[in-house]
């Protein structure tokens, strides 16, 4: 048995992957996001890299060696309503209008919170604390311009698989291909299942 810390498909390894897709260039994408004034959505189906891209953007913004680093805050919107409301209040306290807010799971928010984040809420909130820049992940259009439309393909999945597990056997790769089909292109699900095989 491989200890959890060494499992090639452990969460911390999967989360540290960089977003990739044929033709995708991160620097070009960030330049485009700047033109969009940091108000945009990452749109795509489950397991196609939305959170991966958001995490990569967060690391990029936090890197002090980077000329473009800016104050940012990432928020993984919880499924549980009480945690969500509690974290929302914490967010209002922590963020300033200069913060770039990165929201993973934007669709879990109520309409009133979404409107506030879009700057359409009550004036006192809009002017006091909420960030003016917001990048969200979503499965459906949400009224923000689309920055990146994520999709997956089996070639990218195999590249990521070999990055996580360079010594993966041909059987594991074959299993991953089958899972990719049965899981309808959800790469996160493929790695989740492969974790158990190790």
């Amino acid at each position: 048995m491989i200890p959890a810390r060494d499992n090639p498909f452990a969460s911390h390894r999967v989360e540290s992957l960089k977003y990739r897709y044929p033709g995708f260039d991160f620097d070009d994408a960030v330049a485009r996001l700047e033109q969009m004034q940091w108000r945009a959505a990452i749109l795509g189906p489950h397991g196609t890299g939305k959170t991966t891209l958001l995490l990569e953007l967060h690391r990029y913004l936090q890197n002090s060696n980077n000329d473009r680093s800016k104050p940012s805050r990432i928020w993984f919107v919880p499924r549980d309503r009480s945690s969500r409301n509690q974290q929302w209040l914490e967010l209002l306290e922590e963020c300033s209008p200069q913060t770039i807010l990165l929201v993973d799971g934007y669709e879990r928010l109520s309409w009133s919170k979404r409107l506030q984040l879009l700057g359409l809420g009550p004036t006192w909130i809009r002017q006091s604390c909420l960030p003016k820049s917001i990048v969200v992940t979503t499965h459906r259009p949400v009224g923000l311009p689309v920055w990146i439309h994520t999709t997956s393909n089996s070639t990218t999945m195999e590249e990521l698989l070999l990055e996580l597990h360079p010594t993966a056997s041909p059987e594991t790769i074959d299993q991953a291909r089958k899972l990719f089909t049965t899981r309808r292109g959800n790469i996160r699900d493929v790695f989740w299942k492969l974790y158990d095989s190790c």
């Binding site: 959890a4 810390r5 969460s11 911390h12």
Partner: protein, 133 residues
């Protein structure tokens, strides 16, 4: 350049962890938080907690400072099929929050507890002594 130096990496609960934090050519106004933390790795959501910390505010460009923590009695370093719990000393540069981490083991005998793989056929067949009667 920063470095966390420890005389050893395996500790028993209650033992003192002594180390030295060394910095070279650091910028003005930079501070460091030396933290004793635990975190989890494995399948699913990760968890972490800072247990003790010590702030270091360097006055000179190059230098070093000793730090000391007491290894807590709980939780112990362990590793199983689905989760590993690991202890670490983390030197976090402020305000950038960039971290340098040294992994430790805190457990009886200073050895990580290794949990056996769950035997599917044995699951729930035997009552656990002291738990089910």
């Amino acid at each position: 350049m920063i470095e966390v130096q420890l005389s050893k990496l395996n500790y028993q609960p209650g033992e003192t962890i002594e180390g030295k934090f060394v910095w070279k050519q650091i910028g003005k106004g930079i501070r460091f938080d030396i933290r004793l933390i635990w975190f989890t790795e494995g399948k699913g959501t990760r968890d972490h907690q800072t247990i003790q910390k010590q702030l270091i505010e360097p006055i000179e460009v190059d230098g070093s400072k000793s730090f000391r923590f007491v290894a807590p009695t709980w939780p112990h370093s362990f590793s199983g099929q689905f989760i590993s719990l690991r202890w670490a000393i983390e030197a976090v540069e402020l305000p950038s929050e960039e971290a340098t981490t040294v992994i430790l083991v805190i457990a009886p005998e200073g050895q990580e507890i290794v949990l056996p793989r769950i035997d599917e056929s044995a699951k729930f067949t035997k009552p656990i002594e002291g738990l089910l009667r």
